[in-house]
């Protein structure tokens, strides 16, 4: 059994930022465990730019963004394992790792969960039709094209307007494929507005809102899909079905925090975010286990992942110094208009960043934080969109003395 101060599971955007922050705060004996054969995780396959605008004030590609952190890890000689899969995590903060060297046990005072997320599959959303070759989730197609140099198809329909799907619509177009359309079940896009503009409109790729795939054809390779328009209640509008000849269906229908290890360890998860329920320090239901990045909640901008990772490391320090005490337990209640909030509870008084997503797009909204009838904070929002995470900081002064906390959008 090897003992560590902090073990970080996952060497992607969140894990790297957490590791660098730990090092900067003087924590020794940190270990990053990464299952891939390089650090940086999914950033490596995101070869488009637009990363780092907030964090570094410049537009970087995914690999460039990752490299900034990898360089720091290398300079500071922060230890990491590659090609190493964590196969088990216990509530006692023991970690079992499998790699070509063998099967090893580690124990740490603090575990930082930074496993990221995975893509929602065809099976999970129950898409009808046959099951031919040529159906890919957008991220898998991205990996095959950008990292393995393969082309996945020639005539493509994208279902779902998540950001990865939008980026891939552009990527495939640039690689010579014909992207026939992006169909989105909801009446609004689930991707960022900038991606709709830069990836679809700039390339004349139609975005069909309130449309979905209702059948898939082909027994060997995909030969076509049938799409249909959906009415206000989600039913198929009669007569709206049409067949589209294509060889590839790309799915961009949601991301799911990858919490299999957390679940096995008995960590309490939030059924909406899919991530652990955490307090204002990012600490999960098991003391000493922290969580950040897409494993906590799916982010739309990597800069926020890095910021979140740095933020939770403050709590890690306090935990290691024995300063993390439970002073209270206030559940953060969710009112109208919001899909979720992170953190789900407050246990002490501290400057706290709250993250939200709204239920549906809207204009001129006001976000209210209330303690019973008392208004704690009010924030006007010109435009809200489920695709864009809202992050708001409340100071310890604002949070002091509250008995309850409710957030709502009006």
């Amino acid at each position: 059994m090897q003992e560590k101060e902090v073990i970080i599971i996952g060497g992607g955007a969140a894990g790297l930022a957490a590791a660098v922050a730990c090092e900067q705060k003087g924590i020794k004996n940190v270990l990053i465990i990464e299952r891939g054969n390089y650090l940086g995780g999914i950033l490596n396959q995101c070869i488009h730019d637009g990363f780092g605008l907030e964090k570094f004030n410049t537009s970087l590609t995914g690999p460039e963004y990752a490299q900034r952190y990898i360089d720091k890890v290398a300079n500071k000689k922060i230890p990491f394992l590659l090609n190493s899969m964590v196969v088990n995590l216990t509530p006692q903060k023991e970690v079992v790792v499998v790699n070509s060297q063998g099967l090893q046990h580690y124990r740490a005072k603090v575990i930082i969960l930074a496993m990221g997320c995975r893509e929602q599959t065809r099976g999970a959303i129950g898409l009808p039709g046959t099951r031919p070759a040529g159906i890919y989730t957008a991220g898998v197609a991205q990996e095959l094209i950008n990292l393995k140099n393969y082309m996945v198809g020639e005539k493509i329909v994208v279902l779902g307007s998540g950001d990865v799907g939008l980026i891939m619509a552009r990527r495939l177009t640039l690689e010579g494929a014909e992207v026939i359309m992006v169909a989105e079940k909801l009446p609004y896009s689930s991707g960022l507005p900038r991606n709709i503009n830069q990836c679809l409109y700039d390339f004349d790729i139609p975005l069909l809102l309130s449309h979905t795939v209702v059948d898939i054809q082909g027994n060997g390779r995909l030969s076509g899909v049938t799409i249909a328009q959906l009415g206000k209640r989600g039913g198929i509008i009669p007569g709206s079905k049409r067949k589209i000849t294509c060889d590839t269906l790309l799915l961009s229908v949601g991301l799911i925090p990858e919490n299999e290890l957390s679940r096995e360890a008995g960590i309490v998860l939030d059924s909406i975010t899919g991530g652990p329920q955490v307090d204002e320090r990012g600490q999960a239901s098991i003391p000493g286990i922290f969580s950040c990045g897409n494993v906590l909640q799916v982010h739309d901008i990597v800069d926020n992942v890095s910021l979140e990772a740095e933020y939770i490391v403050e709590g890690v320090i306090e935990y290691l110094e024995g300063k993390l005490t439970k002073e209270r337990e206030i559940k953060v209640e969710l009112g109208n208009g919001l899909r979720y909030v992170v953190p789900q509870k407050l246990v002490s008084i501290k400057d706290t960043i709250f993250s939200f997503r709204v239920n549906q797009p809207g204009r001129k909204k006001i976000l209210l934080f209330e303690d019973g009838r008392r208004l704690i904070k009010k924030k006007s929002l010109q435009r809200v969109n489920p695709a864009e995470m809202i992050r708001i900081k409340l100071s310890s002064r604002e949070l002091e003395g509250i008995k309850t906390l409710k957030v709502k959008l009006v």
Binding site: M151, V152, G220
Partner: protein, 509 residues
């Protein structure tokens, strides 16, 4: 009997579980056997698309072949699985009555089962049912302790591999086009891969057995395809049930009703539905049935949520009974009375998996009576499957990695399949190399992420090991290519247009 060129003593048409069982059974004798399979691997028809249940035998009319061979199969199944290293678990089954009117049906099943000599059947009350199945609703049930589960595709693969090792030849991607009886009384079998001749033809073509029979004897049989759809649930919820959970069967239905099946790997299946369809290759899944399956599962247990579904699929029953009639006809296992040495296996639907070995024995008997076959002294009944890293204890895991570092590389994160297992799978003795072949052999891509993590890795392993071009990497052989090529510098129309536009804008500036 001797082989010469493409001559075989017996040609088996169809490499499903029954065809492979016959091949193995025949390999116990000095007979030259070939199996012709139209797909890229064995077992891709009905054999891989069923509940994987080893039935006890109380569902079938006494005196029928279905009843007799099922009970026989159930008794010898554990031994078969042990010999050829296939997972097998006797988990038992409960047929659950939800209404008083259904209790009569339970009693009828019990007495029918007893007539078929099924052991251990008991009617239990709701309290006893609760003990067996805390999460299942019901007022009474028939408990069958002998009902078991296996992996239907691993079984088929194992039978084939063992037959291959004992001298049977397998021809994959080989589709029979027509058959002629020659003057010397041999058969000439034309396929897309050339000509075969044989003394015997065994028609175990499953869904297409009517078509194959028709090649020598017109319109003798007819198979009506009847599709069943399934949901597969996440392993996370395997705690929901302990036994196979069945409804009381309805007379005239095409199947046994939507049931809950714990699979040998720890998933739960919901299904199958039953719907007669026109085309034998229409394996579509449909929205309406998917909804129905979820609803029916909730009749057993309200804890089952559609959110647990990781995948849905369908299989097709080879029914002789037409849709107007429903229900079941008995298995046909006979030599044609007009064309000697042509043996037909028709309508082998459920319990065909359970009965595969007894069916095979019966076919061999038919030949043996005519030929007095000599036994093969070199027959080896044993076969080893691929060792599953994840199922080993920690000490063994450590030793395995030390022995071969490929065991330390986990390729499929959900099912924790290592690179060593993938390599063994792609180097299988049948030389099946598609993704589905790897999937069935290792469970890679069968977990909740459905290949999201491991697919690109497996593609790379395939390419590296066989030096395949992108188009040669397939999902399931034939036209199911996964990739269209390498990235090219070809420009799409819209891309060109975009460039022209920006050029024009540039000129304006």
């Amino acid at each position: 009997m001797k082989a010469k060129g493409n001559y075989f003593d017996a040609v088996i048409i169809g490499g499903g579980v029954v065809g492979c069982a016959i091949a193995r059974e025949l390999s116990k004798y000095k007979v030259n056997v070939a199996v012709l399979e139209k797909e890229d691997d064995v077992g891709w028809g009905i054999s891989c698309r069923n509940s994987g249940v080893i039935h006890a035998g109380f569902n079938y009319k006494p005196g029928t072949l279905r009843a007799k061979l099922c009970v026989e199969g159930n008794r010898s199944f554990a031994k078969l699985c042990q010999e050829i290293d296939v997972p097998f678990k006797k988990i038992g089954k409960v047929v659950v009555a939800q209404k008083k009117e259904e209790i009569g049906g339970l009693k009828k099943l019990k007495s029918q089962g007893e007539k078929n000599r099924v052991e251990g059947l008991q009617i239990i009350n709701s309290i006893e049912l609760k003990k067996l199945e805390p999460n299942v609703k019901g007022i009474a049930a028939l408990y069958s302790p002998k009902t078991a589960i296996t992996s239907p595709y691993l079984l088929t693969i194992a039978l084939a591999e063992n037959a291959l090792r004992n001298g049977v030849s397998f021809f994959l991607n080989t589709e029979v086009k027509n058959i002629a009886k020659l003057r010397n009384s041999n058969f000439k079998i034309n396929t897309n891969k050339g000509k075969f001749t044989s003394s015997y033809v065994i028609n175990s073509a499953g869904l297409y057995s009517d078509k194959v029979a028709h090649m020598v004897e017109k319109n003798k049989y007819r198979i009506h395809p009847c599709r069943g759809e399934y949901h597969i649930l996440d392993k996370n919820v395997s705690w929901l049930i302990n036994h196979l959970i069945y409804p009381v069967p309805q007379t005239g239905a095409g199947g046994l009703g939507v049931h809950l099946t714990p699979t040998i790997d720890g998933n739960i299946l919901i299904g199958p539905s039953d719907k007669y369809i026109k085309r034998k290759d229409n394996l579509s899944i449909t929205s309406s049935v998917m909804k129905m399956l979820s609803a029916e599962a909730r009749e057993f247990s309200p804890l089952i949520s559609p959110g647990y579904v990781i995948r849905s699929y369908s299989g097709i029953r080879a029914k002789q009974a037409p849709s107007s009639e429903g229900g079941y006809w008995d298995f046909v296992i006979e030599e044609s009375d007009k064309i000697s040495n042509f043996i037909n296996l028709i309508g082998i639907e459920s319990p065909g998996l359970t009965a595969a070995q007894p069916i095979a024995k019966r076919v061999v008997e038919i030949i043996n009576i005519k030929e007095r076959l000599n036994s093969n002294p070199n027959f080896n009944p044993f076969r080893k499957g691929i060792l599953r890293f994840e199922e080993q204890d920690e000490k063994t895991k450590k030793a395995l990695i030390k022995q071969n570092s490929d065991y330390g590389e986990i390729v499929c994160r959900c099912e924790k399949v290592t690179k060593k297992e993938i390599l063994e799978a792609i180097n299988n003795p049948l030389r099946a190399r598609s993704l589905i072949s790897i999937k069935y052999r290792t469970r890679a891509m069968m977990g909740r992420c459905q290949g999201g993590y491991c697919l690109p890795r497996i593609i790379e392993i395939l390419r590296e090991n066989f030096n395949l071009a992108p188009r040669e990497i397939t999902l399931k052989g034939n036209n199911s290519y996964l990739l269209v090529g390498y990235r090219s510098n070809k420009e799409s129309e819209s891309c060109k247009k975009k460039k022209l536009l920006s050029l024009a804008e540039g000129l304006l500036v």
